[in-house]
Symmetry: C2
């Protein structure tokens, strides 16, 4: 049965549809997205909420010429469906499939690979300036949600809108609810605005905007004045934006396709930047998502039973282990606080929030202030645990440097999604945190392997008088033999754990989640006569002197980490070994060992299953075995030792 | 002759002074600061502007118990003078002397070591939350300037003020002028407010605030309503802050000590956060600074001739060479744009701004948006050069990652103050940029030695189809023999330059500003029979394969860089060498070389002359000579080669 969606090959096909057909198309797209995401997993609720908006934008603009910048970009599914990528949707977020985020290599309709919040207005300014310099008249549209506009980068961009002296439209997609999940004053403000409006108010606003938009001869200022006079709104976001000199229009209904098209066409002709504020329902069109947009924000595959949905439960994750361990240690220490930047679920803080609501803080998508608030708390004797994904930690490096490391304050960083992250792809991998953090004096960096170690790690951090960072991946947390060895051993600063004693020259020094693979690899190699030692490094900083000792005994150290090779744990081991030569403290004769670093290469790793990504990086059990095999074969012949000093 | 200032041992001594005496004290302090800074150099204009405010704050509060957080902190001189550090002022910014910024190790009156903008409100929130949890009632005061409040971090903090349910005061020090140096909408807005006020308006505001501040029984909301009703201000910043739910008071006169004390005492008793907006004159009390606050913002020593000042001119700097070279390359390529984050002088862009005003952009203290705007421009075919100090680059790492490296856009980063920076001290060293940047795929990282190389570097970058980062220090740019070798050699991707061929086993592979020292060291060592090769590495990424070749020939490579040892250029060389072992491509026999990294250690280097800092880090000519001498003595005896595969 042919649907309207079947007829859409590209956005130009929207132009021949009537308003009724566009509304039907919207329903079909919502059903399509729901069905698709139930199979592949992905971001659901946000995408359902913006289908009407997306249709209206594509109808009013021509995004081959005009430029559409998505903020974060997880809400781009309808956009992709309309721009020739519908057939590929079953490959969403799969290896070599459609990206879950905008992707310039897929389509000229996509401008930037994105995944981190706050960038749309900023890059839109840059593109508008480019058009300004070239004297071209394409439209530039930035699409940003109410959660992202509170990020510091968004604000810096809003503050610089005045650089743009031609058209630029910011669509502020506001799906904040009365029981609002988005924290912060601005979100609260937008919520109060929303609550103070009736549906009739919003319809009247739309009429008023259209009536008062500047026509030839009338200035923007006059138009705005008239527009505001006709509105009798108690509270309006216009004050906020006008203080920043940005013409503000709205709020309007983000599901009224007819009015939206008219609005976009009219506002699109303004010759200076403006904001259009639209209201949408997150999860619209699929009742479970509509009722629980948080649960269906980002989801794995699920079953659709009529209108209900049951989400498959996964195995026990590092995140879950962290959440339980934090709640445990917090029970014994009332000074422990937990801070998240808009990701309480993802960072495992739901339990903590339930048990200690007064000690839980969510600052919104604002990682920088999360760190500084933690620093202020630590200064006052509290013990803050800041929980931020590795990739988002990149947004607050300067604050970790100045407010935490430089002051030597006991702030704990709980870094989830450290390492390769699977289907979220290159915008989300957490493969650079060791590099950033180990350059900072005073800061200790460690990585637990299993559940016992997670508890030990948090206990260690909670007692430390200096900053501590704990990294762990988005993965199932191992149990078994490692547990037995590790469970009895608290973390001691700079001390690794030998989990397998080997007689040979090969030493596998693994950090965190790679210890399990190292043990497996060593077992397989033993069958080939290679008897390797396996070390659970525990610390990426400081490096255990014991590892350097092994090198001085002539061993071959193979370092293993879920991180880039550049600047990682293995790199730190190389530096430590290099220091032996630089500061010869006594005349000694040592054998020269070797160091081989296994880590992620100098490339952006594409989206796909995490297992596949680890394999491709040489970090799977089999690949480790192969590497060690060839290293063992290349052992140096008997050689004269190297004399230091 | 005893002055009032002589009697002040600590802030408690202010309490016995009359208002007239306080005004005299302010004059004495201004004269003292001017005299002192003329000897030592430092930040002058900002400090002169806040003397009255500082006196009033210390009179109204007790900052042994109450907490004062300075934003950036360069304006803390009067504060230090009043808190027992006057005698030490001749040591300002000297080695082992008084810090030019707040310093907790100097005084319990200082909370955080600071130097980067945007942190005061954020850390104040953290400290207020600490007090909230502890149930203590000390006052928390954040002092922030109009240039810093536009930073994303400040905004994220303002957005989270609602977490604080007790007293917290933000003093917004507004010294923006009619001909405003601070760019951006918010600054423009504050300027318009300032221009719309007469002095009488401001006095009336002060009266009104004091009359309407909440008394027992009256709510904050009532008080604010009354306050606003009595004011007939055309435009007020109150709308902006009230949209964010922050009670706003002001603007008031920041030089009227009497009223300020009354205001602080009254506002200090509010039981929820509030902003007090004050106007000050930057440079007040010293006519040259008053007339040209930009010139006297941060100054070296100068001569005071009556009321005039003549600033000593220094030798030609890397910055000046960069500025000229950029203007040169921009003349030939009209797509070249220059972007700064509020530092046009410091980054050498004054000439560019004069010649190409339409191509120059200053986004205010907002490094993150500077990068994203550049990315948008590059997407549209322009060639943006983003000029940010190394230490401030830490504020936009995520944007460099996502908007630039991931998109592989040809944005050029011109990184001044890379390396040890001298008297600005540990908050300002640029010793981590190589570590951050070399983890990013696609991004090329290079460092010019001399003026010719600077021109070559910019020419290379302007033609590149990928992102390029160029780093150089705050130092005199060398000329002489290096010039002859380098001037004829354009930059070729990943290609170093051998500037001295030696017969021996020692190779000095130096990056950027350390090449000159390496050449001098090699000359001295030649006198001792050590004939070293000197390489101008040029690139920190990618590393020249030729350097790896030298290691395969058994050479001892000594890497030299103005950067931390962790994750630096030398670390990259180690990794490259390590890769030889990992990917044996053919059966070959190689000799094992050695790598010795000379770089800055894992510590925060204290303020002092840059020369001293380099010496302490082992990077002076003499220290290099000593290190090489001991390495040469420790050369291995004849040994069997290592066979790879």
């Amino acid at each position: 049965m042919s649907t309207i969606l079947d007829q859409i090959r590209g956005p130009e096909d929207l132009k021949t549809l009537s308003i009724e057909q566009l509304a039907l198309l919207a329903e079909e797209i919502r059903a399509f997205i729901t069905q698709s995401v139930s199979q592949t997993g992905g971001h659901l609720a946000s995408n359902l909420g913006v289908v009407d908006l997306t249709i209206a934008m594509h109808r009013a603009f021509d995004f081959r010429r005009d430029k559409l910048l998505w903020d974060v970009g997880h809400q781009c599914y309808a956009h992709k469906i309309l721009t020739g990528r519908r057939e590929a949707f079953s490959t969403l977020r799969q290896l070599d499939g459609l990206s879950g985020f905008p992707s310039p290599q897929e389509s000229p309709y996509d401008q930037f690979y994105v995944g981190h919040a706050g960038t749309s207005i900023a890059t839109a300014i840059g593109m508008a300036l480019g058009a300004q310099h070239a004297g071209t008249d394409e439209k530039v549209v930035a699409f940003v949600g109410d959660a992202s506009i509170v990020n510091g980068l968004s604000f810096e961009a809003l503050n610089n809108i005045g650089l743009v002296r031609r058209q630029m439209l910011i669509v502020l997609n506001d799906n904040s609810m009365a029981i609002d999940a988005t924290p912060g004053a601005m979100a609260g403000f937008l919520s109060r605005v929303r609550l103070s409006h009736t549906y009739e108010d919003i319809r009247r606003t739309t009429r008023s905007i259209l009536e008062h938009l500047p026509l030839i001869g009338r200035t923007m200022e006059d138009a705005l004045e008239n527009f505001k006079r006709t509105l009798r709104m108690q509270i309006s976001p216009s004050r906020l934006f006008e203080s920043l000199n940005i013409p503000y229009f709205g709020p309007v209904d983000g599901h009224d396709i007819d009015s939206l098209i008219e609005l976009f066409e009219a506002i699109g002709f303004l010759n200076r930047p403006a904001i259009l504020h639209v209201y949408t329902r997150k999860g619209k069109g699929f009742t479970p998502a509509d009722n629980n947009p948080t649960k269906f924000h980002s989801t794995g595959p699920f079953e659709i039973n009529g209108d209900a949905a049951s989400i498959k439960k996964g195995a026990r994750s590092y995140t879950a282990a962290f959440g339980d361990a934090l709640a445990e240690v917090a029970e014994k220490n009332e000074k422990i606080m937990a801070i998240t930047a808009a990701m309480p679920d993802g960072t495992g803080l739901v339990k903590f929030r339930e048990q200690f609501p007064d000690r839980f803080y969510d600052v919104g998508i604002a990682e920088s202030v999360a760190v500084d608030i933690a620093a202020g708390m630590a200064k006052k004797g509290l013990r803050p645990f800041v929980c931020i994904y590795s990739t988002f930690l990149q947004r607050c490096i300067d604050q970790i440097f100045q407010e935490v490391a430089l002051q030597n304050l006991p702030v704990v960083f709980c870094i989830d999604r450290a390492g390769l992250v699977g289907n979220d792809g290159p915008t989300h991998h957490g493969t650079m945190d060791i590099g950033f953090l180990r350059m900072l004096p005073n800061l200790v960096l460690l990585s637990p392997v299993c559940e016992s170690e997670m508890r030990h790690a948090l206990a260690f951090a909670a007692e430390a008088s200096y900053p501590v960072a704990i990294r762990y991946p988005r993965d199932v947390i191992p149990n078994g033999c490692i547990e037995e060895i590790c469970s009895t051993q608290p973390f001691v600063l700079g001390r690794s754990l030998t989990v397998r004693e080997g007689e040979g020259d090969i030493v596998l020094a693994a950090l965190g989640s790679l210890v399990a693979a190292a043990i497996e690899a060593a077992d397989r190699l033993a069958g080939e006569g290679i008897d390797a030692t396996v070390i659970n490094a525990r610390f990426a900083k400081p490096i255990d002197e014991g590892i350097v000792e092994l090198w001085k005994q002539g061993k071959t150290i193979v370092t293993l980490e879920d991180h880039t090779l550049a600047c990682g744990f293995g790199s730190a081991v190389q530096e430590s070994v290099g220091q032996v030569r630089r500061f010869p403290e006594r005349k000694e004769t040592i054998r020269t060992g070797r160091i081989c670093q296994l880590a992620v290469g100098d490339l952006f790793v594409k989206a796909g299953p995490r297992k596949w990504q680890l394999e491709a990086a040489g970090l799977s059990i089999q690949r480790i075995v192969e590497t060690v095999r060839s290293l063992a074969a290349a052992q140096p012949r008997p050689y004269a030792p190297e004399r230091i000093s």
